[in-house]
């Protein structure tokens, strides 16, 4: 895609700027500090346990740690270190550790590392059976050593843990056959013992975009649904959903929208998906396609066969990014970030009629330095924004009901 415009070259006075900048060369970091503590985290992922305890997994100082909070994130327990040594954790913009907490309080985690200098990834999993006091030694989720990244976890009603990720194992066969290999494969597995062991990995779909996060939920018991940036014909990287027939059987690829984003690049900007109790799929995504540009929302009431017309989110001049959607007990909530050149703000919109109409967006938090993606999490009664910021630390903010 080529776009042309005029650029006003402003001759600013930088008499000493570049030289001083080079001399200083401060170590740039997204992290506030380098210890494995929450304050130093760059990515933090929440989940509520069955008793209302908030669990948080984060990456900081090359380690993965977990802690819990009984007061809505105001204070946390002493962290449990999941990893025992500093690792080259996947720091890609859309990578983060994952957590699900089952009805018995078992905690399943997954995270990825860069395992070589070519930035090939490896997905690890672990589990705590003692309420987060300790975690089993992390193990690779698949024996294959090619490259896996962007894992996602979802918990079924019966405690089955479903995992999906992007996997490049089949590129070696393409190379041997002299064929071009584009993107990555969507692979999946599941665990019937709460994340202690996982079944053999299986391919759901080859030719998906290789550098965006996945969205994962359950359409119904035993039927996972994933949203991912697919590579459609002609290198068009638009979004698709796949509803599994059962826990081990992939379904067909169903297109979310025709954005027509033909690009051979890493957008680093994946979608989000939630399924309401009545089965409605709510999805949000980013595109820079010919048909539309920016953040969008749509819903499907027929398991992804058809979607509503995309609804734009955010102010175009404020660079809206990182959309997240969650169907909560009182309605559906969308959160995203905007940036005005100095300050990042998180905005939310809510719907009480299953996505037909939405409240005007409102700002619920902001920060003046770098920040993690805004995430939404529910304890069954209330939806919260979960947001890690460099300047202001971790925030858990209740999203009030809309009129």
């Amino acid at each position: 895609m080529i776009r042309t415009g005029a650029l006003a070259i402003v001759a600013l006075a930088f008499a000493h700027g570049p030289a001083l900048a080079q001399m200083r060369a401060p170590p740039a970091s997204e992290a506030a500090c380098e210890e494995p503590t929450l304050r130093c985290a760059t990515k933090a992922t929440p989940a509520f346990g069955p008793d209302g305890t908030l669990w948080l997994v984060w990456m900081a100082g090359g380690q993965v740690s977990v802690a819990s909070s009984h007061d809505e994130g105001r204070s946390f327990s002493a962290p449990t270190q999941v990893t025992t040594k500093r690792l080259n954790l996947d720091w890609g913009p859309d990578a983060r550790p994952k957590i699900v907490v089952d009805r018995k309080g078992g905690i399943a985690l997954a995270f990825s590392t860069f395992r070589d200098e070519a930035f090939n990834g490896e997905v690890f999993y672990t589990r705590s059976a003692d309420g987060g006091k300790s975690f089993a030694e992390p193990k690779p989720i698949t024996a294959n050593k090619e490259s896996q990244r962007f894992e996602a976890l979802a918990l079924d009603q019966d405690g089955t843990v479903f995992a999906a990720w992007l996997d490049k194992r089949n590129r070696i066969f393409a190379k041997e056959a002299g064929q071009k290999y584009e993107g990555a494969g969507l692979f999946f597995t599941s665990s019937s013992d709460g994340g202690t062991t996982y079944a053999e990995a299986k391919l759901a779909r080859e030719g998906t975009c290789e550098c965006c996060r996945l969205g994962l939920a359950f359409a119904a018991p035993g039927r996972p649904v994933a949203i991912f940036r697919n590579i459609f014909e002609g290198g068009v990287r638009d979004h698709a959903v796949m509803t599994f027939t059962d826990i081990a059987t992939p379904g067909e690829v169903r297109r979310v929208s025709h954005d027509d984003w033909q690009i051979n690049a890493c957008p680093h900007h994946g979608p989000s998906l939630t399924v309401a109790p009545n089965g409605t799929y709510h999805v949000v995504w980013y595109t820079n396609g010919k048909a539309r540009k920016g953040l969008f929302y749509a819903h499907s009431r027929d398991e992804g066969r058809t979607f509503s017309a995309p609804m734009a989110l955010g102010q175009p001049g404020r660079n809206p990014t990182r959309p997240y959607v969650l169907a909560g007990p009182k309605g559906t909530v969308i959160a995203w970030k905007e940036f005005d050149g100095e300050r990042t703000s998180v905005h939310v919109a809510t719907s009480r009629d299953d996505g037909e109409t939405w409240s005007p967006p409102r700002t619920i938090s902001n920060t003046t330095d770098t920040s993690d993606h805004p995430l939404l999490v529910s304890n069954g009664g209330q939806v919260y924004l979960s947001w890690m910021t460099k300047a202001d630390g971790y925030r858990l903010i209740a999203i009030e009901d809309q009129p």
Partner: protein, 165 residues
């Protein structure tokens, strides 16, 4: 000469040393205000600015092609900016530039933990997708190529720049 560093601290030491010796720094930190100084520094010259990153698959394919383009077109200023999010990796970045034949171009690496802010200075609509190439004419007109550039498009633009003068 090939440098390898373990951390940004190493980069800082090298740049400081290079500056002291009067030599061109190998990798320059790209910080707030750097974009305007790049534009100012190349004002009046046709300039190709390439944004890429070490973890970006399509970038790995494109970078050597760009290295060849730079070699074949000394009349075009080529600037590369590693725009991966931090931790930026100077050793890996330099290694890939060396292999692509881009050791002697003006090469930057993002050096601000607040990458959104750097991107906003360059193009408020840019959300960080890489590779990305900006072609800046002598007059300051910018053509942005999102995703991998077709070398034929670069050749065409280059020829247009030369034909004007």
């Amino acid at each position: 000469m090939r440098f390898r560093f373990a951390a940004m601290l190493g980069l800082g030491v090298l740049i400081a040393s290079a500056a002291a010796l009067g030599a061109s720094p190998v990798l320059k930190p790209f910080e707030r205000g750097t974009w305007q100084s790049v534009l100012k520094g190349h004002s009046g010259r046709p300039t190709l600015v390439h944004f890429w990153g070490v973890t970006c698959g399509p970038c790995k394919v494109e970078l050597p092609l760009l290295g060849r383009f730079a070699k074949d077109h000394p009349e075009i200023d080529v600037v590369t900016i590693s725009a991966d999010l931090v931790p930026n990796l100077p050793a890996a970045t330099q290694s890939m530039l060396d292999k692509a034949g881009l050791s002697s171009t003006e090469n930057f690496v993002f050096n601000d933990g607040f990458a959104e802010r750097l991107r906003f200075e360059i193009d408020p609509a840019w959300q960080g997708d890489i590779p990305r190439t900006m072609l800046i004419s002598r007059e300051g007109a910018v053509t942005t190529i999102e995703g991998s550039a077709e070398m034929a498009d670069l050749e065409k633009w280059s020829a247009q720049q030369l034909s004007k003068h």
